[in-house]
Amino acid sequence: MFKKIFIIIKREFLSRVRKKSFIVMTILGPILFAALITLPVIIARLSDSEYSVAVVDDTGLFYDRFEDGNDVVFTHLPVNLNDALELLHREKFNAVLHIPEVAFESPATLRIFTTKAVNIKAKIHVENVLKHEFESLKLGARGIDKDVLRAIETNISIQAVRILKDGMEQTDYPEVSMALGIISGLLIYLFIFLFGSQVLRGVLEEKTSRIIEVIISSVKPFQLMMGKIVGVALVGLTQFLIWVFLTLLLVFVVRTAVPDMFQFTPDEQVHITSAQMLDTGRLEEHMDTIQYHDTTAGQVLESLSAINWYVMIFSFIFFFLGGYFLYAALFAAIGSAVDNEADTQQFMLPVTIPLIFAIIFGQMVMVNPAGSVAFWLSIIPLTSPVIMMIRIPFGVPFFDLYLSAFLLIAGFLFTTWLAAKIYRTGILMYGKKVSYKDIWKWIKY
């Protein structure tokens, strides 16, 4: 019995890992992943073409308060609005900001005119500047000095400290946990879909190519189904482990080649500080900023090393396998019940909804990883693989973890049992469009 399952597992595994697409994905995966992370940074650094805003200031109070930056350039136009709009039509500017005389009393009269869709960045920038200026004017009117205002401006970042059972204190880094949680949750979601649908397609292939009857005259349908599910699981596991290994290798190589990649480059520091200095002209604040940035960078590194990677990787593998087995059995059942790929849709929907649901609620879970939504969704087997992986970087009580693991195992035993019943009848059904009613009969049979 097990010998034959082993033969099936071997074929399912080898036929997949030998495919070009597997090899390409395995090698490209970490590179794509790295690109995904670094690309937004690179894109952010690329400058867009400049966006020019003409300022028509009827009050004469604010025109010199707009500083160029963020690809937005301001020009003061000492003309009236109509002339300015004329220039706008001749495309001398991208936008005209009009500050009417009554603007200070009724800010709703402020207008930004454009001929095309407005640049949101510029609009927000203008709004921020005006808000700041209006506030200072109002404060000044009540006798509060600008310098006093500057002095009381404070950057606050609260350190979260968790008191553990044994009285020890541990610093939390929710931001880092959040990023790690969403990445691993998404990865589980992706893996379940990716390899679950491979099982579906595999079953469908055997059915449509009509090799199925030859095989199940040699082995039990259950052996074939399990062999396929386990074989594909090993493919997924292999891919994951190679990815982990390649990513570590990539990080190591980059670290040795470019040692200060993970620190702020001097260039960036100068940029930040000079900008701040120009803005404030005060040295202490400059020092503050430096320290602030240093501590964040340090915190990220510290928090990353504070995370128990063994627990992370082990639980990832466990919840990936558990979730995969749970869903793969259902996917196998779907594959056996239909005749072609187009017919899978009606059955795919109810199976994929809990997964999509998990990803949507994942954001809620990230915000409050110890709340009751997080608890229940990480206990229910259909959503637990994704949700638990989101929770784990924040630290999860052992009770929750064990309960979730236990229920997940019970869950996949149940779906496997259910799927086996559908599968053994489904694979022999040809040419008939199967309904939920039929499937219910197969299960009861």
Partner: protein
């Protein structure tokens, strides 16, 4: 034990209809056993039950006298009507895989397979994907996979459908050879010609019930109705036999100067009585019993039961 397979009162219900109703058949060892019946009669269901792909609701299957069990699949070779291959898998690898699932060892199988591939002219395709094979070659490959593990029982479901005449002949020869080597063969078919040519025994299934079973020659004899065809020489046109009630002439025609007549013997008279009567009439050139073809028996039996 003279029967390799014994199907005892097997009943199988699917949702909505009864596929097999109290079917009992006996397949003698080293025989070629034809499973006949119209479409939807239940042949494939019976074959699947013997292959343990599905289980019967009532009744049992005996293999060599013992109740059939999962390990018996290694003694059975099955070529289903709906047969396929993994399109993207290499031919040799695929055959090896399927053989291993039948319990064969990897290395001995490889050698054996190469011999079969050689015999069927497939050796050049060993490392090619199955989808590159022509239909005829795919069928050869499927046949090899079916017989490779040297099974005691071979089951072919509609083996000749889709084969070209040359491959049909190769297949027939192989079936005879397998029988000589001691195998028992069950095959289902619509092709009555191949039944007469190949089968020792048959069972006819109609509307989920067995309606006829037995030795092909015996069945034909039983269905023969004392009808004979004679050719007479030296007669001008038609002739008559004096005792009309005993020897009824069904039809008469002239052909190449001979008169051919089909005569039915009635009233417990024997062939000798007929011959005596005919000698009185003229010269007998030939005298043959008209034996119904399996096709006629098939159609008659099926229609009778309706």
């Amino acid at each position: 034990m003279n029967n390799l397979i014994q199907v005892n009162s097997v009943t199988k219900d699917f949702t909505g209809h009864r596929a097999l109703d109290d079917v009992t058949i006996r397949v003698p060892k080293q025989s070629i056993y034809g499973l006949l019946g119209p479409n939807g009669a239940g042949k494939t269901t019976l074959i699947r039950i013997i292959n343990q792909i599905i289980g019967p609701d009532k009744g049992e299957i005996l293999f060599n006298g013992e109740k059939i069990r999962p390990h018996h699949v290694e003694k059975i070779g099955y070529l289903p009507e709906e047969r396929g291959l993994y399109k993207k898998m290499k031919v040799g690898e695929q055959a090896l895989y399927l053989a291993q699932l039948k319990g064969l060892q990897y290395y001995q199988t490889k050698k054996l397979l190469k011999e079969w591939f050689e015999k069927f002219d497939l050796l050049n395709w060993w490392d090619k994907k199955a989808e590159t094979l022509s239909k005829g070659m795919q069928q050869k490959l499927q046949f090899i996979i079916t017989v490779l593990h040297n099974p005691e029982l071979l089951i072919f479901d509609e083996p000749f459908s889709g084969f070209d005449p040359i491959n049909v002949n190769i297949l027939k020869d192989e079936i005879f050879k397998l029988k000589e080597q001691g195998a028992t063969i069950i095959f289902s078919t619509h092709d009555m010609g191949s039944v007469e040519e190949l089968c020792d025994e048959i069972a006819l299934i109609n509307k989920s019930k067995k309606v006829l079973e037995g030795n092909v020659r015996k069945i034909k004899k039983e269905h023969a109705k004392q009808i004979f065809r004679v050719e007479m020489a030296g007669l001008s046109s038609s002739f008559e036999i004096p005792n009309k009630n005993d020897f009824e002439i069904i039809e008469q025609s002239t052909k190449d100067g001979l008169i051919e007549a089909v005569i039915r013997i009635n009233n417990d008279k024997t062939t000798n009585d007929l011959l005596e009567a005919l000698i009185e009439v003229g010269n007998i050139v030939s005298f043959n019993e008209v034996i119904p073809s399996m096709n006629e028996i098939f159609i008659k039996t099926v229609l009778e039961k309706q």
